[in-house]
């Protein structure tokens, strides 16, 4: 039996999908978390089900990419049942899309989600009455808490037997205005709203969106986040991970070192020095760097991002940034690919789909590549700069961001066209749920360990081979002229730049054992972040936007990166920073 899961954006479809299929989809409090169509399999009431998660849309007749994808799947009709998810907080608005589904005359049931939040906001829904008026089975649920799924499970016993009972019996008017009239009628009969005093979160919504207060709030939030990340990261390193590594792990390695006789094997495993960060031993530095230097910052970052995502702050940021974004040829929602790109470029590139014109996609892509380091990179920059005062970390990001904006500004001047207008729903703030936060943190940390740790270890092993074979000098000679004369950087880091191309997100951390000075660290990190997109994002960009745009974005990026690394280096030299 094939089921399609539909609904407006941000109604919690992904949570329902995860619950049904056990598939671990990331859910966040902003519209459009699901960009790709997900499919999964499950068993309910003893029946094998195939579930397709359709992108959330407001209407079947829309013009955006998500709208067309959803429209195609729904109208194709090769499914047995529609499960449509509605948000209890927004029942009336959600009914417009529901009415369009009712017109399809296919078997369907409605899940009304977020009933707990609605109740707190003084919204009472008579579900029996709603069911009666719509002629569709209605089940109230709280997806995040798993409430109501037992009712759905029970319903399935009946669905298999009498699927045709689930075809809606009412008819709805064709005209859109008449639809709204009927919706107003339905909701007035089954929904009562008790006006409550604005809650703390509702007051916060106003404060963080009204210009006078929103801009200072955003700045304070960013600064606090920086300090919080440093605090958590340093705390984890100094009190947990570093002592653990030195007191429990190192004795074992030292023992191993003493039993292996000197020779090529020992050099390959332990490098020229066994002390972490002094040599390139895969067993000491190779583990110390990913687990002790970087992992704490990865965790700290994902805690902050997770909380902001779940509260629902990011769409508000797009309102604050809208006016500014127009100057670089984007509307406020152009900041969404940028913000997602701060996590990982791949979902960032996918989210370019929410922008309507090629021009906007081009500008947003180049802004993202020039100034949004992905989460592992950001964590590594924090890690590698953690021995210096926090102002240098700020300076790094301010420089990075300013150059990105300048790049987007130039693109906006070069490519003719007008910026589209912002038009987006802003979800209300939600209290973050600890369970969801931990779930996301766990998933993302695991991904980092699976993805990055083997590469860092492999990279350090590779550099160690070059080191013990004395190949360093040879490679360095090739790169020395550029690195020395253009960026005033030591030639010894040239293997990192080569490795950086393979997996640039974690390459910055490979700089740790080289004991670079402050300027050298800042400039080489800047260069590594910007000089080329990583292989995965080049591939996705190519797929999404085609050869021409990909090549122009990469070329533009490279030239910009070279020039501004040079400039950055010279500014710092002029400031007397080595």
């Amino acid at each position: 039996m094939k089921i399609i899961l539909t609904g407006n954006p941000n109604v919690g479809k992904s949570v329902v999908f995860s619950y049904l299929t056990g598939y671990t989809a990331i859910s966040s409090n902003y519209p459009g978390t699901t960009v790709d169509i997900l499919g999964g399999k499950t068993k309910l009431a003893g029946i094998d089900l195939e579930v397709v998660d359709v992108p959330g849309v407001y209407s079947l007749s829309g013009e955006s990419v998500a709208d067309r994808v959803a429209d195609e799947i729904i109208k194709k009709g090769d499914y047995d049942l529609i499960i449509n998810v509605l948000d209890a907080n927004n029942l009336e608005r959600n009914l417009f899309f529901a009415f369009e589904l009712i017109e399809m005359k296919r078997p369907m049931i409605f899940l009304v989600n977020k009933c707990d939040i609605a109740k707190n906001r003084g919204i009472n829904i008579d579900f029996k009455k709603l069911e009666e008026l719509l002629g569709v089975k209605v089940i109230p649920i709280v997806a995040t808490a798993g409430i109501g799924f037992d009712l759905l499970n029970n319903e399935f016993k009946n669905i298999v037997k009498n699927i045709n009972d689930y075809i809606p019996k009412i008819s709805v008017p064709d005209d859109k205005l008449d639809k709204w009239k009927m919706i107003g009628d339905v909701s007035s009969k089954c929904e009562t709203i008790v006006h409550k005093h604005p809650t703390f979160l509702e007051k916060l919504e106003v404060i963080t969106t009204t210009p006078v207060t929103a801009v200072p709030f955003a700045f304070i939030l960013i600064i606090l986040s920086f300090y919080f990340i440093r605090f958590i990261g340093e705390g984890l390193i100094n009190y947990i991970l570093d002592p653990f590594f030195n007191n429990f792990y190192m004795p074992i390695v030292e023992k191993l070192y003493s039993v292996i006789s000197p020779g090529i094997l020992r050099e390959l495993l332990f490098g020229k020095s066994i002390t972490p960060l002094e040599g390139f031993s895969v067993l000491t530095t190779g583990l110390y760097v990913p687990f002790v230097v970087v992992l704490p910052y990865i965790i700290a970052f994902y805690i902050v991002i997770g909380i902001l995502e779940d509260i629902g702050y990011l769409p508000r940021l797009s309102v604050i940034l809208d006016k500014f974004s127009h100057r670089i040829g984007l509307h406020g929602y152009g900041s969404i690919p940028f913000i997602l790109g701060l996590g990982c470029k791949v979902p960032g590139i996918f989210s370019l789909r929410i922008l309507e014109t090629k021009r906007e996609k081009l500008i947003a892509a180049s802004l993202m590549f020039l100034s949004a380091p992905c989460m592992p990179q950001t964590a590594m920059i924090f890690a590698i700069l953690s021995k210096y005062p926090v102002k240098w970390t700020f300076l790094f990001f301010i420089f990075l961001f300013s150059v990105g904006v300048l790049g987007a500004f130039l693109f906006n001047k070069i490519v003719k066209g007008e910026a589209q207008d912002l038009f987006v729903e802003i979800p209300p703030y939600h209290r973050p749920v600890l369970k969801n936060l931990l779930f996301k943190l766990n998933l993302r940390t695991k991904n980092f360990i699976k993805d990055a740790v083997p590469f860092v270890m492999g990279g350090i092993f590779f550099i160690n081979i070059l080191d013990v074979m004395n190949f360093f000098d040879m490679i360095s000679k090739v790169f020395a002229p550029i690195l020395n004369s253009v960026f005033s950087l030591p030639a010894k880091i040239s293997p990192i730049i080569i490795l950086g191309f393979l997996k640039k997100d974690v390459s910055i951390t490979l700089l740790t054992p080289f004991n670079l000075g402050l300027r050298e660290t800042l400039v080489s990190s800047y260069f590594l972040v910007t000089y080329l997109p990583c292989l995965a994002s080049i591939f996705v960009l190519f797929k999404e936007l085609g050869k021409k745009i990909t090549v122009s974005v990469i070329a533009f990026n490279f030239v910009f990166s070279m020039f501004f690394s040079w400039l950055f280096s010279n500014i710092l030299l002029a400031m007397g920073v080595q």
Partner: protein
């Protein structure tokens, strides 16, 4: 008094007319913004976006689009 959404001072407004193309009207309709509906203006950036509340949800609308929505100020 009839005025554009971007210039409206009051919070309580009624949509009178949408001076947009088919595409824009379809987008607004699907979100519940149509002639005759009551809306509340929550946030307004001068020459920038506005945030309105309609049917219990908050929607951000860019400046140019907000200029094309004619509203009546209610008391």
């Amino acid at each position: 008094m009839e005025i554009t959404l971007s210039k409206a001072k009051n919070a309580k407004l009624k949509v009178i007319k949408i001076n947009g193309g088919r595409n824009m009207i379809a987008k607004l309709y699907s979100m519940g913004i149509y002639e005759g509906v009551d809306i509340e203006k929550l946030v307004s950036y001068s020459k920038g976006p506005v945030v309105i509340k309609v049917l219990n949800s908050q929607i951000a609308i860019g400046h140019n689009m907000a200029e094309k929505i004619v509203v009546k100020e209610m008391n």
